[in-house]
């Protein structure tokens, strides 16, 4: 099948702004559209992006739109480089421009030449009561700009390549026409097309700038562009390319010129600081504005939430906690005013005022102690028959706060019935819709009401700044809603909401507290014949949506929430975990054991719960990788050899055969999507990402090798207080192996000497940033493993700042050795040589804590079954 797109300029102009419909998806496949954009550039005399992610200026220079949020992962550089590489752009002629929130525009519709009966990323058809969306998306609007789940590169790699290759192909064809030669004899290299013959003996070449109009008349098909994609060895910048990858923000960052949320200066802006109810769902009773208004510079004292608004907390999504704002001419005045205001406020602390995290831990552990009220999420064979006298262990991970270096901040201006927002956010679309909702003064949209969502988006503009770290905190736009709610009350004046570190620690959306229980029967050879696992975790479900049993909910609200939960979270019902949480190291437990039963327990929210870097993998990896080591010791085996036996030879996990109802594979397809093209050739057009323990085994073997495991184990056997620990984990579609080398002295003081980390993330597009994410992710894992704990008493978070919620510092940071591992050869072959890139932001983190716990045990220390380790060993 081969079909040319014919799109008139008028049709292009009509659709370009919206991005809806197959025609516009075709825009990346048809540089005709690209060139029509160029023509309008020529007419207007300045560059205007006619297509979503790339524009060419009259002089041939390229502007690439960075549509995803940048929070330290380097995506502004990496995605731009993918496109520049395929189009053979000279990086010196590329600039990167940050996009505003515009989720529909950056969504990617399924290629129209691809038959539509292929598996979709969102398995709607498997969820009762839901329908396939009208338009089939490769990347749906809700995911097009949302920087979570380490998906930016995985989702857009193929898309950016197709854009780039389409432009290169059109340039080559335009040059070939100009010269009257066969395009097959031409090639493109760094903004020039070269004709037949070598450069030195009179071969012709021409700069892209002279080909713009000609290229605009070319209409290559999807099939032709797909066939023109580079082979990995042809990459110029990405992967193992010979030229250095760009890092577009580094220079600004080291000079203090990079602009984060609080750095935006809008003329006439006032600064707000907010005193919030310390308990989730508590409401404001009264306050006295007088002392705050007496502080010089304070202009307004206002409640954040309009009367009648539900107060933020459990079940209220991104509605902020109840609070009173002090709005002033500068930050210090607001800070002092807030201090004066605080003693005057009376709260009704509401239903969670007695929440105590230490008591709640007992509830979680009671839940994992029995199979009563659990939901079976995976089953193979018969565990009960095989268990006998099992090895048992229970692990606990407390609430944790993301604590990005930049405390939340946002600016909003309400003018002419619309909201304009400047903010650091991982969730631009969610924030834009909420800001629009505040502007319009309307209730939230019913689930899946696209027209309503469009109305909300239309009422707000959101400018994305750099994020001073996110780690999941900034995917929750409650601080942006605060700015919008205040701006609505002071029309025409830009209002900046500035959080303090104390606000950030006390009003996070915390990673779930969790109990993990394991039982295993070991056979005569020491290997497990059966594994039982129970997981209790406070699901973020309970924070995002009203509980079904919340008093006062209408039947419509309950029904609506049920639909969203089913669609978005894979059918799980609160207070059980969502499909997303179950797929993060629970259902996909990788070990090859004859009898397996995995259960999920009930657990309720009493505090806002959200995502933190690697989310449910934190407790699932800590549990299973520690338990693997406990089994190894019970069997008197070497931890690494035993781990390799647990993994086995390697296979694709047969999850559906083991009663896993709906495996949420980071919202991406498990199977590779192949399509027949003309001539009968069946080719991979979209990658799939099966959970594949061949790759897990690969990183386990590699990390054992680079760490010198076998030699050091022998050496440390005769040394007091020195030990090695190993852990491996797949998360966000990538595979990571960690080895920790620790010392423990007579005073029970622990030193982490070395951490070795190996990642298989498919194609490492930006090798330097992959290494940086490995280094940083390992430090992040060490930080919470050794030091991390949020506790709650009488409903309020106890910790305040970095003194009582410590973060790992430089003197506590070991030598870190990181390696990028290619997937095994048979896997590479299955992907026809092109293994797609997978996540690198979160995957480095989960295996760190268990590797260190296992190493401390090997060094003669205690078996640590809970976080933070500082409760059991001294961290200097």
């Amino acid at each position: 099948m081969s079909k040319k797109f014919k799109v008139s300029r008028r049709a292009f102009l009509q659709t370009a702004g919206v991005g809806a419909g197959a025609v516009v998806f075709g825009s990346y496949l048809t540089p005709a559209l690209q060139a029509q954009g160029l023509i309008s550039n020529l007419i207007n005399g300045f560059p205007v992006s006619g297509v979503p992610v790339v524009a060419l200026k009259v002089n041939g220079d390229v502007v690439i739109i960075a549509h995803r949020p940048e929070m330290g992962q380097g995506i502004r550089s990496s995605l731009a480089a993918v496109l520049a590489d395929e189009m053979e752009a000279d990086w010196k002629r590329v600039t990167v421009k940050q996009a505003d929130a515009d989720a529909v525009k950056y969504a990617v519709i399924f290629p129209s030449e691809v038959p539509t009966n292929y598996p979709l990323p969102h398995p709607y058809e498997k969820i009762p009561g839901t329908q396939k969306p009208k338009v089939q998306y490769m990347v749906p609007p809700e995911g097009s700009q949302f920087a979570d789940s380490s998906r930016s590169m995985t989702a857009y790699y193929t898309v950016m390549r197709l854009y780039g290759a389409g432009i290169r192909l059109a340039m080559i064809r335009a040059a070939a026409k100009k010269w009257g030669v066969d395009p097959k004899e031409c090639r493109a290299e760094k903004h020039r097309v070269y004709g037949p013959g070598s450069r030195s003996i009179g071969g012709r070449s021409i700069d892209y700038r002279w080909l713009l109009l000609g290229a605009g008349k070319e209409t290559p098909t999807y099939e032709e562009i797909n066939a023109a994609l580079k082979k990995p060895e042809e990459f110029r910048y990405i992967g193992n390319g010979k030229e250095k990858m760009p890092f577009v923000d580094a220079s600004d960052m080291v000079q203090g010129k990079a602009v984060y949320g609080a750095d935006v200066d809008v003329p006439g802006m006032l600064t707000a600081m907010i005193e919030r109810c310390p308990v989730a769902n508590g409401i404001l009773l009264s306050y006295d504005a007088t002392p705050a208004l007496a502080v010089p510079g304070v202009r307004f004292v206002l409640p954040v939430l309009p009367s009648g608004y539900p107060a933020g907390g459990v079940g209220q999504g991104f509605i902020p906690h109840a609070g009173v704002a002090v709005v002033a001419t500068n930050t210090w005045a607001a800070w002092q005013g807030r201090r004066a205001l605080k003693p005057t406020i009376q709260w009704n602390k509401g239903p969670h005022k007695d929440y105590d995290s230490t008591e709640f831990r007992k509830e979680l552990e009671a839940a994992t102690a029995t199979s009563d009220k659990t939901k079976r999420v995976r089953n193979k064979g018969n565990v009960d028959a095989a268990l006998g006298t099992p090895v048992k262990a229970t692990y606990y991970v407390p609430h944790l706060a993301q604590a990005p270096m930049e405390p939340p901040a946002a600016i909003a201006l309400f003018k002419g019935g619309r909201m304009e927002v400047w903010a650091p956010t991982q969730n631009p679309d969610g924030a834009q819709q909420l800001a629009g909702q505040v502007a319009l003064g309307l209730p939230p949209c019913p689930p899946n009401d696209e027209a309503c969502q469009e109305k909300m988006r239309a009422a707000a503009t959101l400018h994305m700044t750099l994020l001073g770290g996110g780690f999941g905190r900034k995917s929750k736009p409650d601080y942006i809603v605060e700015a919008a709610l205040l701006a609505k009350q002071i029309p025409g004046v830009p209002i900046r909401v500035q959080w303090t570190r104390e606000d950030d620690i006390k009003f996070s959306y915390y990673n779930a507290a969790s109990s993990q229980h394991y039982e295993a029967a070991l056979g005569a050879d020491g290997r497990p014949t059966a594994l039982l696992q129970r997981s209790a975790l406070t699901s973020f479900f309970g924070t995002l949506f009203p509980n079904f049993d919340t008093p006062g909910l209408s039947a419509a609200q309950v029904a609506g929430a049920a639909v969203v939960r089913a669609e978005t979270f894979g059918g799980g019902e609160y207070p059980y975990a969502s499909g997303i949480e179950r797929a993060q190291g629970l259902e996909d437990m990788p070990f090859d054991i004859p009898n397996i039963r995995i259960e999920n327990c009930q657990a309720r929210n009493h505090i806002r719960v959200g995502w933190m870097r690697s989310v449910a993998n934190i407790y699932h990896a800590f549990g299973i990788c520690s338990f693997a080591d406990e089994m190894a010791h019970a069997a008197r085996r070497d931890s690494k050899d035993y781990l390799l036996e647990l993994i086995g030879a390697g296979r694709i996990l047969p999850l559906s055969a083991e009663e896993v109802a709906l495996y949420r594979n980071n919202e991406l397809p498990v199977e590779i999507i192949k399509v027949p093209f003309s001539g009968g050739k069946i080719t991979q057009v979209l990658p799939g990402f099966p959970p594949d323990t061949r790759r897990l085994r690969g990183v386990a073997e590699a990390v054992a090798k680079v760490s010198g495991w076998d030699e050091k184990v022998k050496q440390y056997k005769n040394m007091k207080g020195r030990g090695l620990g190993i852990a491996v984990h797949r998360s966000f579609l990538s595979y990571v192996g960690i080895v920790a080398d620790v010392s423990l002295n007579d005073r029970n003081e622990v030193t982490i000497n070395d951490i070795f980390g190996v990642i298989d993330c498919g194609l490492a597009v930006n090798r330097d940033r992959v290494m940086a994410q490995m280094e940083g992710g390992i430090v992040y894992g060490l930080s919470y493993a050794l030091l991390g704990e949020i506790t709650v008493k009488t409903g309020a978070v106890v910790q305040n700042n970095f003194d009582d919620y410590p973060i790992l510092r430089i003197h506590q940071t070991p030598k870190i050795h990181t390696y990028i591992q290619d997937p095994p050869a048979d896997v590479v072959k299955e992907y026809e040589g092109n293994v797609p890139p997978t996540g690198v932001g979160e995957p480095p983190t989960p295996a760190v804590a268990p590797a260190v716990a296992n190493a401390i045990f090997a060094a003669g220390g205690p078996r640590i079954r809970e976080i933070p380790f500082k409760k059991f060993v001294t961290v200097l």
Partner: protein, 156 residues
């Protein structure tokens, strides 16, 4: 309110503000120098580090009334004399130290003060000088390497 004379990056400013205002907010809100960041507000993280007479100080915890007695240097003025980047800034770019970048102005100001006092610090000396600066992205290994690199540049 009294008028304070602030000497920032070699330039004089007369500011009419509360003398108890922390220097951080005077720099950011009054003078518009946004390279100095709020991280914790209580001298725990170093994101707000500036130089007072060449010595690293936490601007969140130094009042304007005190800061006005010193020559103040911020990240914007670290290289102001020649326009060329400070060796630390160069090393930070060369080794790709920043991730989100938010803490890096403070890291660089602390490192620059260290190198001024001790042009060739070893790892222990680097750790001792830098342990007051938190990086949540975990760029510490590269910060160590970049300080060594900058020390080499500074002496060559």
């Amino acid at each position: 309110m009294p008028v304070f004379q602030l000497n920032v990056n070699g330039k004089g400013y007369a500011v009419d503000i509360d003398g108890n205002m922390p220097l951080l907010w005077a720099l950011r809100d009054i003078l518009g120098l946004k390279g100095t960041k709020l991280g914790c507000g209580v001298s725990q993280c170093g994101a707000c580090t500036v130089h007072l007479d060449g010595v690293a100080a936490r601007s969140c915890s130094v009042d304007v009334g005190v800061a006005c007695l010193s020559k103040i240097t911020t990240i914007e003025g670290l290289s102001y004399d020649g326009g060329e980047l400070h060796p630390c800034q160069k090393a930070w770019v060369d080794l790709g130290v920043p991730q989100c970048g938010f803490c890096q102005p403070g890291q660089i100001m602390t490192a620059a003060a260290l190198l001024r006092a001790n042009p060739h610090p070893n790892d222990e000396e680097i750790d001792a000088a830098m342990r007051g600066n938190i990086c949540r992205c975990g760029t510490y290994p590269r910060i160590r390497a970049a300080i060594h690199k900058a020390a080499g540049d500074a002496t060559s």
